[in-house]
Symmetry: C2
Subunit: 368 residues, 2 copies
Amino acid sequence: MSEYDAVIVGAGILGLATAYHIKRENPNDRILVIDKLNAAGQANTAKSACAFRCLFSSRTNYLLANSSIEFYRHVQKNLKVDLKLNFIGYLWLLCEREYEELNPVLKDVAQRGFSYKEYDKQELAEKLPIRTNLEEDEEAKIMGLENIYKGIFIPKAGIVDADCLVRFYEEEFLKMGGEIHYGVEAEKLMVEAREPLGIPGEPYFWQESRIAGVNTNKGMVKAKKTILAAGVWITKFLDELGIECYIKPKKRQIFPIEAKTPELERLLFVKSFSKEGCMPFTILPKFRILIRPFPTEHTFWIGYADDFPRAYKLEENPQPEKNFYEYGIYQILVKYFPQFKDRRPTAPWAGQYAINTLDGQPVIFEEN
Amino acid sequence: MSEYDAVIVGAGILGLATAYHIKRENPNDRILVIDKLNAAGQANTAKSACAFRCLFSSRTNYLLANSSIEFYRHVQKNLKVDLKLNFIGYLWLLCEREYEELNPVLKDVAQRGFSYKEYDKQELAEKLPIRTNLEEDEEAKIMGLENIYKGIFIPKAGIVDADCLVRFYEEEFLKMGGEIHYGVEAEKLMVEAREPLGIPGEPYFWQESRIAGVNTNKGMVKAKKTILAAGVWITKFLDELGIECYIKPKKRQIFPIEAKTPELERLLFVKSFSKEGCMPFTILPKFRILIRPFPTEHTFWIGYADDFPRAYKLEENPQPEKNFYEYGIYQILVKYFPQFKDRRPTAPWAGQYAINTLDGQPVIFEEN
């Protein structure tokens, strides 16, 4: 059993990006990626909404997202690898309360050189078009929906093709001499005492010990560093060692709607936000339903991530629920965008989202 | 199906104490306690180390512990219910680093009127006796054990009989007209929309909803308030609703050692700490092995709660492990207390401990 410099559990987008960057910085290191599936990016990466943005309230997440975007741009522009990168921007539609809450964050990130545009409700109604005032709507009142007060548009944001990105990282990592073993399932992290004494059941709590690699269904992999990039499955590995990572899985369902009517066509190819001539990735107020335009497919993806009272549940292969669209998402969507009235989704799918429960961020939490 | 004012899941010490105090404050309320087992305090309450102390670094935990102790004293002294309350005190044995860390906490709690005594290592060696200096010991060095620098003695602390306490709460609660249903297993919390609309699968995320009681293996229990006092099992209920409670289970094993030699007898009935004439509940440095004297049984309970690399694992009926004492606890214990050399535990047992992972406290965490 030879020892790697690093083993990375998970060949999703985060695992492969990590592998690529470590290998690039340390060309002589032996880096191994393992994944239980038979190809890259087949688990939740394949089920993501494939959008990116640089607005995060925490500094770490902002820096991480911003440098990732710069890197994607570099790959597409300088390395001539088509990631289907599309800077359509992000549009947060906010009710008054949300705007008051977000305002200090925006002021703060603006000082770091972050640029955004603010639209009032009249501008939004003209640009999109959208219904911003639901006051006369009895149903909307029962549902607790709120008027749209402002829109915040972030130009440095957009959509990408997760599969293109995954393939780029995989190919480059392999070219540099990185190793990937597919069909290898990590079962448990290996822990060993720094100074083994040969006593039964070691390491004991009084022994200084370290994570020494991974036990897999194909044998042990020893490594100097073990990196978990297994998304929602990370908790499973860490709970086994009594390490808390504050990660919980959220199910996210995505429902594609084809832009088959002139009204939806017009909404999809709205000209007034970016030079891409496409509707931005849009977040509705309060419940944060997302609308991810897919201009090349003439489709919108409508998505939502679980919230109370839906379970934190680790599912191997989560499935979309028809009623979740029909009585959940749809009811809210048509109040703001009546263009979607009576449109039914085609081929929906579901994935999982690893959120940390300390600040609700999907990426990295920051402790005070 | 009638509705209770409150349903409490779990008839352990926390569930019954909660039931008792709510009922006392609200004599006309219908309060129900349910428990999957057939009597009170049979799960982890029965497996606790049955000690109490009022030293906690957080203000909430301090107030909670302190008022509990006052209440126990009142029950034993004024209500003449024998809880086998014994103010033998708590003795924290600290290495230099731990003392430096604890010192500001002690200064802080002292300002709230909390009293404690500080002993230096010479005093400790004479009073107990204990080995405070392990510098010449090669094995101790390999194990990373540290010299004892100071001892902090807390008089307002000691031991109690958990079963007596549980029976007191149970009897008084029943006398006031409280209800307890044993052999009823809570399966899931019930959630309902505040304004049900009769749509399939409600409540949806956009509906304002509330926890409306508990589904059990014997049917539904509706209640205005639902209180989880299920210890390590709480997470299971909350995960199902997407609520994070930051609780993880830790296994704790307890190994009783009989005080059969004159040296152990002398240690157990040490006179110099409290008027009880008994060794205090003692915590060893660094790894925090606990020694809980049981003077009426002429026994010490030696205990330890899991730490890295032992799993966070929810066990229905955890069992003690022989090697955990032999190669884990014992090795450290005899370095400080050679009196325990070659003594073997009789009838060990294991339980679980619900710790919150934010500040490691067993009771309540405080957010900044």
